[in-house]
Symmetry: C2
DNA sequence: GGACGACGTTTCGTTTCCGAAACAGTCTAC
DNA sequence: GTAGACTGTTTCGGAAACGAAACGTCGTCC
């Protein structure tokens, strides 16, 4: 794949996100969401913060926002009540599933 | 390419953008930038607004921000002074070039 | 059991973006 | 030449995210 093909692919996916999708996720929010669903659990606030190289409040706020959207869920860790484990949700899985479809559909369009 | 591979690819690219890149572009800003550099010129504010399905002020503000970063430039259309044509810059080309490298590098890492 | 450290959250003030409406400047048509 | 349509921009109030610091809660360790 050539560089300009990669850029074109990325552009079309971004474009479809801008035009179609109503819940407009931040780059950080999207990264957090993908990390939660693709990396092996358990996920904690400090773990995500360290992984992304951001401060903890960034994670907390992103979880607030995406939690309100139903994309993620939080639960206290019973074994260590200081921790909060981030849970996946059906809505979140569906969201990313559709997003993956978009990525592949765009690819199909560009390189039939 | 399978759906989860696509998501994993997208995640890693987003992650590198979050951790590395200092100028953190919005999804809309990135889409505008890519459209300017990949679609055939000339580009105008109303054209971009129609293409992305957003209002004109969104484009104006994004151009302000990215213009301050040196990623794009604006010039009045001599033949019709109402229009503003958006110009590419060396810095913008370099930025997207490096971004394309990131995309391909991540891809190489995931599927060696 | 009390001091210390770690966890996630909240607060504070600032910055940025947003949508809708109003705006100044320019072209066009009559 | 003047009314009207069009360009891109600015304004307005409101919403959201930011960094840095302080906070309440909980575990650990002596």
């Amino acid at each position: 794949m050539r560089p300009d093909q990669a850029l074109r692919w990325w552009k079309e996916v971004c474009l479809s996100q801008v035009t179609d999708r109503h819940p407009d996720l931040t780059l950080r929010q999207m990264t957090i969401l993908l990390t939660i669903y693709l990396d092996p659990p358990p996920h904690t606030v400090r773990g995500l913060a360290a992984r992304l190289g951001v401060t903890k409040p960034v994670i907390t706020r992103a979880l607030d926002t995406m939690g309100a959207m139903g994309l993620v869920d939080r639960r206290r860790d019973e074994s260590d009540l200081r921790n909060v484990v981030i849970m996946r949700t059906v809505a979140g899985s569906l969201y990313l599933e559709q997003f993956a479809d978009t990525i592949l559909a765009v690819r199909q369009e560009l390189h039939p």
